[in-house]
Amino acid sequence: MKGRVIISVLAISLAVLSCRNNSAKPEGFVLADMDSLTASANPGVDAMEEIYRNFSSPLEIANLFQVSGVPFSPAYLASSLNANEKTTSFQKALYLGILGADLGYLNMYEKTGTSIELLSSVKKIADGLNVGQFFDFETIKRISLNKSNLDSLLFLSVDSYSRMDEYLRKNNRSQLSAIMIVGVWIEAQYFATQVMKQYPGNLLRERIGEQKYFLEDLVRIVNPYCDTDKEFTTVCSYLRDIASKYENVKISYSKGEPSSSVKDGILVMTQTETSMVEMTDQQLAEIIEMTGIVRNKLIAN
């Protein structure tokens, strides 16, 4: 009899362990306050997946800075963000996104030794949203401190965020996934516009103009939630404020046939078809200003 009890306890222990890190089994997690939004507002997992995949990551923005010879600056970071017991789930998701972009920027510039404090904040906020199990804090911290392998670090950071995002979307918490993406985008856009002020250049100017594409998708992601919650209503109006500055920005295309060559066993395709952004200095200045206002309001809340 005693033996059977022990076996039962062991079996239950194993079952509990096997549920850890299993995204298909959400029962073990306590949902937070903002999670009570209705599932009917969910724009659909597939649509979110498409939009998520389409988004220009902060890594690509930071890569553009490096290609343009822009030096690293800690002044662009929102590294003082932290969560406490009064921080809502909405804020946590937003902060997670903002800090994710900051982490990408630090990693791309290989300022990994200085990112530990930020990593701790990310972990704490992720835990607060019950997605901390997807953020591989110890491994990322170890690689960051060792400065051993940048590509592994980029992979682990991006993969952790993707898994947190996927978990939120697949467990009826898409509104938090949406706001996390808003956080990532606004911070990357903030980097781009701040750098543009200090180091104006055509590459960055075009990339800022091209964000018109993504902003339209972003507005589409958050739109179903705009009337469901006061915090969402505010962020929706912020995004519309930025979108209004993009209204007259035009993107045109010219045709061309791609050319190819092979070098060292690598097939290299060069597109000759191009996209061009038509944006006046006035429009750019307004986008820069509005982005700064919105981003600073979001981190001040």
């Binding site: 389409n54 890569n63 097939l267």
Partner: protein, 145 residues
């Protein structure tokens, strides 16, 4: 009692090994290491397909934004137990093929394809295994500086 405790430890260590294996993907790690010294990781696709009924179109589809003035590298890694080799086609939003990892004239299948992108937009990325065979593979998308 001791016997049950020992049994539990054995079960637990077995669980840890299996769980550890699931979390680390050797093909992904190997592929990540082979992208090249100037490549910076951007995202990855993990493809697993059975035998296709027909070979009309590539079966695994994803959308991805590619941005002007960026050189992207698609590294294609096929699991050694696969029947076919991982291949890639990229189409733009006007349904024009932008690149293919298969050179139809020579039959060469490239494991590395670089795209020097000059048109920002959403592209359709298609993967499959040669002749619609079964297989599993990984593709890493990197930026080249």
């Amino acid at each position: 009692m001791k016997k049950y405790f020992l049994g539990f430890l054995l079960l637990l260590s077995g669980y840890a090994v299996i769980n550890g294996q699931a979390q680390s993907d050797p093909l992904l790690s190997k592929c990540l290491m082979s992208t090249g010294p100037t490549a910076k990781y951007l995202k990855d696709f993990r493809i697993q397909l059975g035998q296709a009924a027909s070979t009309d179109a590539l079966r695994y589809k994803a959308n991805m934004s590619l941005w002007k003035n960026t050189r992207y590298r698609f590294t294609l890694c096929t699991d050694e137990n696969s029947m076919g080799k991982l291949i890639l086609n990229i189409w733009d939003n006007s349904n024009n093929i932008v690149l293919s990892s298969v050179d139809r004239k020579t039959g060469t299948i490239f494991n590395y394809v670089d795209l020097i992108c000059n048109k920002s937009g959403v592209y359709q990325i298609y993967f499959d295994f040669t002749e619609g065979q079964a297989g599993s593979g990984v593709s890493i998308v990197s930026m080249i500086q």
